[in-house]
């Protein structure tokens, strides 16, 4: 028994907020789809409540035995847009079935009310997209996502055009709740099929019948490791991040495999994203500050974040044979207390965040914007972010919330893991004519690798 190693781990758990962010059970619903939506929703509810009935209990027992918290237990399912429905009302029944099943088995969130429209929308996809704002309002524990671009197929600009109005509608329908509906909806380019994190988790069609995916966390652990490194060169810092990511990933991998063994569900992947929470000391932005930036958003932030993301990946890949999902560093504004401070101090602006998303693992995440932001401007934000993803062959996402009735300078509080956010300033010049063109941005030249 090595005294130092044990105390090292105890410190990570007690002081530095090391936890497993999520154990996500992926379930294929392909065998539940039926031309009669009533039959399909019943089959979906029955399948989820059967396969996931022991998920929460098992995850809690494993967490207890190893003394490492599993913060969220979640379920992801096959993208629901693949099912059959004749109209918006019928789609909403699917959302309710998912939400009710999630509540029945006691998971925190269920994801997969999703559509994959990167190359085009079917008729069915179109009515599905229309249903999303209502589905988000009528459910509490369900998340939704849309993938509208990929490096292989380009960007579905018709879908981009629809996203602005969709997001504004979701914000309006949940106006009594600070437009919280939008916090449960994310728009992707290059979405991955095995992501355990929300709001974007879904169980891809190429996945097995059921699978356990795990998302680790631990920005506090990385921050503490770097705190003692005053005067160290950046490559020394990168090495320490790598070593720390290794330890965090190993813990996640152990817990994931144990849950998978006990549930008799194959282990899928480990997503080693550093995911912040609003808690003090659990911040990705703070890691950048410890590296030597006065605030996150200062010049140099993109380079620091790029190094962090890369070093986390390198350490994580060594620690687990099945690394997947998004894997990098999340920069959700409202969920990171130092990120919030950087916005409030006027250091972190929308444009800098966009630049940082080109090197982080996801994208423009949990950003509150003014209610008077035009629909086309929101679509244009999505177009920009999708372009970064498609051209750089990486996953990007947008989760922005135009908060009903709020303007720059106001603040909104969603509570819990979602945190609070100052309303950020948005470029006020119009993108309207560009967005209204619709069509499809062709796939980039480097997609032709065959």
């Amino acid at each position: 028994m090595i005294y130092k190693d044990v105390l090292d781990t105890i410190k990570m758990l007690e002081v530095e907020n090391l936890d497993i962010r999520t154990t996500t059970l992926g379930i294929s619903l392909l065998d539940c789809f039926d031309s009669d939506y009533k039959k399909a929703t019943k089959k979906i509810y029955d399948k989820i409540t059967t396969l996931a009935k022991d998920l929460v209990k098992t995850a809690d027992t494993v967490a207890d035995e190893y003394g490492i918290p599993i913060v969220n237990k979640r379920i992801s399912v096959t993208p629901i847009a693949l099912a059959c429905a004749n109209n918006v009302d019928e789609w909403i029944e699917y959302a309710k079935a998912l939400d009710n099943a999630a509540k029945e088995v006691g998971v925190d969130i269920i994801g997969g009310y999703s559509a994959l429209v990167q190359k085009g929308c079917t008729k069915s996809d179109e009515s599905f997209l229309e249903s999303i704002p209502y589905a988000l309002t009528e459910t509490t524990n369900m998340c939704s996502s849309v993938n509208l671009g990929s490096t292989k197929s380009g960007i579905n600009f018709n879908a981009v055009k629809k996203m602005g109005p969709l997001i504004k509608k979701a914000a309006y329908l949940s106006r009594d709740d600070n437009s919280f509906g939008c916090a449960k909806f994310v728009v992707f380019a290059n979405a991955v099929e095995d992501n355990p994190f929300m709001a974007g988790a879904f169980h891809g069609v190429g996945e097995a019948e059921k699978v356990i995916n795990v998302g680790v966390s631990g920005p506090g652990v990385v921050k503490t490791a770097l705190e003692g490194m005053k005067g160290a060169t950046v490559d020394e810092i990168a090495e320490t991040i790598k070593r720390t990511a290794f330890k965090i990933t190993r813990a996640g991998s152990l817990i994931g495999h144990e849950v998978s063994k006990r549930l008799d569900v194959p282990f899928g992947i480990l997503d080693l994203s550093l995911a912040p929470t609003p808690a003090i000391g659990d911040s990705v932005a703070e890691i950048l500050e410890v590296m030597g930036l006065e605030r996150c958003g200062a010049h140099g932030s993109t380079a620091a974040l790029a190094m962090l993301t890369d070093a986390v990946k390198k350490g994580g890949i060594m620690a687990s044979s099945h690394v997947g999902g998004l894997s990098g560093a999340f920069i959700p504004v409202s969920e990171d207390n130092r990120m919030i401070a950087a916005v409030e101090d006027g250091c972190l602006k929308f444009d800098k965040l966009e630049a940082m998303t080109s090197v982080c693992s996801v994208g423009l995440d949990m950003i509150a914007i003014p209610w008077d932001t035009p629909e086309d401007t929101i679509s244009a934000m999505i177009a920009d972010e999708a372009a970064i993803g498609v051209i750089n062959n990486k996953t990007t996402a947008v989760r922005v919330v135009p908060v009903y009735g709020k303007k720059v300078g106001d603040k909104v509080d969603w509570g819990g893991l979602f945190g609070s956010a100052p309303i950020m300033e948005v470029n006020s010049f119009s993108s309207g004519d560009f967005i209204q063109r619709g069509g499809r941005i062709p796939a980039p030249v480097h997609s032709f690798k065959n």
Binding site: M1, I2, Y3, D5, V6, L7, D8, T9, I10, E14, D64, E65, Y66, G67, I68, K247, R250, A251, S253, L254, M318
Partner: protein, 89 residues
């Protein structure tokens, strides 16, 4: 099953006695023990073997939680595998 017990708290008399009493009552074998006092804080690590046929992990944990509350210390019981996995390649 091998597990690590970590006891951290203000130093006072009878800490080892109280913890080992629980272990002895539940037939848990202590394989290794090390302790130190840092800035008035007592830290003890115990490597123990739990015979799962005789003692359930859960009941040991409950008993240790009870002791922790009685004597005002933090006592953690965790499977040893976690520490091995995190610190060894």
């Amino acid at each position: 099953m091998k597990a690590i017990i970590t006891v951290i708290g203000k130093d006072k008399t009878g800490i080892i006695y109280n913890v080992s009493k629980v272990l002895s009552e539940l037939k848990v074998n202590i394989e290794d023990i090390s302790q130190t006092v840092m800035q008035d804080y007592f830290t003890m690590l115990m490597l123990v073997t739990i015979d799962e046929e005789k003692t359930a992990f859960k009941s040991l944990k409950e008993e240790l939680d009870k002791t922790a509350e009685e004597v005002g210390l933090s006592i953690r019981l965790q499977k040893e595998e976690l520490f091995d996995t995190m610190h060894k390649i």
